[in-house]
């Protein structure tokens, strides 16, 4: 891992970082990755990811839920006519 990787990750995660922070994160991440790399030595053989699958879906019936539209829209940093307002994308 090098500083370019950190820069790339910062862009992917949409987090603005100063050069100093990037360097400090690089050194932290190197340490942590060195530690977690020990999983490489574990032989998993033919173990497959096993999940106990069961249906969590309910029937498509109308059920009332209590929620406050006002409380939700009030938390928008910017709104107009009850809609969330963001900068143009294209």
């Amino acid at each position: 891992m090098n500083i370019k990787d950190v820069e790339n990750l910062a862009l992917l995660t949409k987090i603005e970082l100063s050069l100093e922070e990037k360097e400090s994160l690089l050194s932290d991440m190197k340490g942590i990755l060195d530690y977690v790399k020990q999983i490489e030595s574990v032989k998993v053989g033919d173990v497959k990811a096993e999940y106990k699958l069961y249906n969590v879906w309910r029937e498509d019936n109308v059920e009332t839920r209590e929620f406050s539209k006002e409380l939700i829209t009030k938390q928008f940093p910017d709104a107009q006519d009850g809609f969330l307002k963001v900068k143009k994308i294209l």
């Binding site: 990787d5 950190v6 574990v42 990811a49």
Partner: protein
């Protein structure tokens, strides 16, 4: 005068019902204590301004002859659990002034019983840490030694109960965040079976690991809170029902993974205290058996892959658009970069970057994929072990509470989770109980013992917990 040091939820229930004191009396005393001690300990991020009104409503119900276990009981709530209309910040700048738009299911359940919410408690930012040193609002101090951390991430909730600033509390536990501070402060902390307590309304960190858990002075009190908040919830698709896991027979055998406990990095005082606890369990009539796991020591490594990976995904919702902090840039991309750059603290950024790395193309199989496979192997090993033992015990933490600022290297702080993370990785319930003290620099510092039970068997934990506590 009510003596808070000896008061428990169970005792308070009797006295409230007998009208020896009112819920308003009780809440007032707690508010007074909070006023005296909160500044030094930094336990509460906010004390609600309607505590006495809540208590008054409880008193009216008591006057009508109603009685539920938590009616009129003053509780502290970790700042990651939503209460409609109240602030919830996850101890982060990115949610500093956010008002919750709905109630967490656990809050609905507690409110239905008439519990009194005193305030929201400090935590590591987004519950990421083991000491509350990562809170954007300062560290919570250990009531036994204010020079040391209270543990984390539910440090505020645990310190509140320890310092008699609440009678009980809720925390959340992703890798030990209820049990570790409980050990550092000498009280009881429970991490339920994965899915046993609904997480609807809990700010998510690692979704395959997160649990909400009770914090209390005694095992009975923890059980009272657990019984109040548990249960299937249609709003949480991962929540389980009472019949999800099949019953197991009691063998009166306890397993101890001695090779992990005697390994390096575990304080000799912790080992000594643990050995004494094991002897006590033998006196109680339990057979103690040495067990070993092939993949136990690797659990911490897979945790620090799975947890950040899931956290990086969960925290993508904090984009400055829908709620919380918004920093304006020249365009949408700059809005994101600035908001998240300013809003997230150092540990949170570290985990988001780390998780994104572990999930990125080319690394996914080597990190997240492999970690999941090892997780399955460990689950199988645990299922096998629980065929022969009722409980698996370890110390809760390999050390006593550390000094504030002592662990500047993130990895050294992560290693404190060595005993607690396994229960989250495997999904089994676990409890931390006080197991004694050690005298360090003139201060009596608590130690804890952890019991893990098979899936769905919290009752094993409460049963042995009460016996252990009585010794």
């Amino acid at each position: 005068m009510i003596d808070l040091t000896t008061l428990t939820i169970a005792i308070a229930r009797k006295k409230l019902d007998a009208k020896e004191f009112s819920a308003v009396d009780l809440a007032s005393i707690y508010l007074g204590e909070i006023k005296k001690k909160n500044k030094e300990l930094n336990v509460y991020l906010e004390i609600y301004d309607d505590v006495l009104e809540q208590a008054k409503i409880a008193d009216e119900k008591i006057a009508r002859g109603e009685s539920t276990p938590l009616l009129g009981i003053p509780l502290a709530i970790k700042d990651v659990i939503l209460i409609q209309g109240r602030k919830v910040s996850a101890a982060s700048k990115i949610l500093e002034n956010y008002l919750a738009s709905y109630n967490a299911t656990v809050i609905d359940k507690l409110a239905k019983q008439g519990a009194v919410f005193l305030g929201r408690t400090n935590t590591d930012e987004f519950a990421m840490g083991g000491s509350t040193e990562n809170s954007a609002y300062g560290v919570t101090k250990n009531p036994h030694d204010p020079g040391r951390v209270a543990g984390g991430s539910s440090g505020g909730s645990v310190a509140a109960v320890t310092a008699n600033l609440a009678l009980g509390a809720l925390g959340s536990d992703t890798g030990g965040s209820v049990r570790l501070p409980a050990s550092f402060c000498g009280i009881v902390g429970v991490k339920p079976t994965y899915g046993r307590v609904s997480r609807h309304g809990l700010i998510a960190m690692g979704s395959s690991l997160d649990c909400i858990g009770p914090i209390a002075k005694t095992v009975t009190d923890a059980e009272i809170i657990f019984n109040a908040v548990k249960g299937h919830d249609i709003l949480d698709s991962t929540s389980i029902v009472d019949t999800t896991y099949s019953k197991v027979t009691i063998k009166k055998v306890i397993g101890v993974p001695w090779d992990l406990i005697n390994g390096e990095g575990v304080d000799s005082k912790v080992q000594e205290n643990f050995t004494q606890s094991v002897k006590k369990l033998e006196i109680l009539g339990f057979k103690v058996k040495d067990i070993s796991f092939k993949n136990l020591d690797i659990a911490l490594a897979i945790y620090y892959i799975i947890m950040p990976a899931e956290a990086s995904t969960n925290l993508s919702r904090f984009d400055g658009m829908r709620y919380g902090l918004h920093k304006d840039g020249k365009n949408l991309l700059e809005d994101y970069l600035k908001t998240r750059g300013i809003g997230f603290g150092k540990e949170v950024r570290r985990r988001i970057l780390l998780g994104t790395y572990a999930l990125s193309a080319g690394y996914y199989d080597a990190y997240y994929g492999k970690a999941q496979m090892i997780r399955n192997m460990l689950k199988k090993e645990f299922a096998l072990a629980f065929k022969n033992v009722d409980l698996i015990i370890t110390p809760t933490v390999p050390s006593v509470a550390w000094k504030i600022g002592e662990k500047s290297n993130p990895l050294s702080a992560y290693l404190a989770d060595i005993f607690t993370i396994t229960a989250n990785i495997v999904g089994v319930p676990a409890i931390s109980l006080p197991s004694g003290n050690v005298l360090i620099e003139g201060k009596k510092l608590p130690l804890g013992i952890q019991f893990m039970a098979p899936h769905g068997r919290e009752d094993f934990l409460f049963e042995i917990g009460k016996k252990f506590e009585a010794l």
